[in-house]
Symmetry: C2
Subunit: 259 residues, 2 copies
């Protein structure tokens, strides 16, 4: 946890007299049992009066002050200092993976930095994966928070998991999102060029990109036809077969502008 | 497990008459409790007479035949068909991480493909990490096998974990290994160019590379002086702070030739 993230709803209304000439906003009392409270006291070893790096989810970065350590709660205040840069203009489309794989991807893709992840049904996805408690309980968002805190960012990518490949491609195409983006689908079996080559021949820094990865059992020919007809180029990452989690990070690393 | 790996010592001596005109070699009986036996029967659902993709560790790829399913063991034979290509000429030097992080890196770096990983003591590594049962029990090698089987490769990288940064740099330098290699050290704090730029300005396909990543708490200035005086360029992967496991995969993806 490089950054302690608070929800905007955790900001408390400031006492009127207090904030005339400052940005500092009190936070609602944080229960000592909250993982963030334990992190602040036990890992960061902050004492009353100390500050630490904090941010508001999808809002500003800043400094938090540990005002008081109570028996049951921490008293905290937050001072915003700057807006984080926008997320990289990269959209991931992923054949819905098993929940444990999805957890790692939610966290790691958020850390590396993407704007949006669509987990989609394809011809070969297991329909049971979409009804996992990861999705139905809202647990998925916790992995985004972990990934963003690691990256020292407050911004979370948008996530969907109820569409199928065809509807996501159609909708994004109709919205014009694909017209300016580089469209790449990883396919270790039918691709004839590597992501490196493809990257080299025409990708330019900052251009939006859409990166599609099939499910564990790969794309079906119906999926491939859909991708090709939407304008996707099939690319590979060499001969070695990577786990989905690893392929996502490797592919993002190839297309990201790190400057 | 995309490939079932057997140790060369698991080859049984062939009955003399049997193998005059064939490459097929019997394997020692495989206990039903072995993870590979369970995988062959329960996941691959092979029955007597069926074949599956197999390989000998650091040896050939080929096909294995499930000759018989006994109460306690599987009877198997292996036919080598081709040697896998050499591992990519990439050496990793990593500040010794906590064991759970090391497990993931051993597996994932092996899958992506490296020739050698030196886990080294640096100014800021925790000395307790080197005495973990991961290293002392030999467990580390299991993660290489998992990574290689995923990649559909038989070759395992060489691993060391008992050196410090200075001794590895001195030894490799003396052996001339560094003279032809591109030397890159990830450093999110002091690097002035990104791995992308560095890659662009001079890296060429297939050139050996040495990639150094600090421990969780980063490089100390003593470490940086050592790296710089050995010829390493400090590079970064952008503003976002990645977990060590993610940084290894992302950096390898940047410098690898995927063609």
């Amino acid at each position: 946890m490089n950054l302690v993230l608070f929800e905007p709803a955790e900001l408390a209304a400031p006492p009127e007299a207090d904030v005339r000439n400052t940005n500092i906003r009190p936070l609602r009392p944080l229960p000592r049992a909250d993982a963030r409270a334990r992190h602040i006291v036990e890992v960061l070893r902050r004492r009353e009066g100390d500050t630490f790096d904090a941010g508001l989810v999808n809002g500003p970065l800043g400094k938090a002050t540990l005002t008081a350590i109570g028996a049951d709660t921490l008293t905290l205040a937050f001072e915003p200092t700057r807006e984080p840069p926008p997320l990289p203009p990269v959209t991931l489309i992923l054949g819905l993976p098993r929940p444990q794989t999805a957890r790692d991807i939610l966290r790691d893709a958020t850390t590396v930095g993407v704007s949006c992840i669509h987990f989609v049904a394809t011809e070969r996805t297991d329909p049971n994966y979409a009804t996992s408690s990861l999705w139905t309980s809202g647990e998925w968002r916790r992995h985004l928070l972990t990934g963003a805190a690691q990256a020292f960012d407050t911004r979370l990518p948008e996530i969907t998991w109820t569409h199928d490949l065809a509807s996501i491609l159609t909708e994004s195409n109709h919205n014009g999102y694909f017209s300016s983006a580089r469209l790449l689908a990883l396919d270790p079996y039918e691709a004839t060029e590597s992501l490196g080559q493809s990257n080299h021949n025409g990708y330019f820094v900052g251009q939006p990109a859409v990166l599609a990865l099939g499910p564990e059992r790969g794309w079906d020919n119906t999926d491939r036809d859909l991708l090709r007809s939407t304008g996707f180029t099939l690319v590979h990452l060499g001969q070695r077969i990577l786990r989905s989690e690893t392929a996502v990070v490797a592919a993002l690393a190839r297309i990201r502008n790190w400057n």
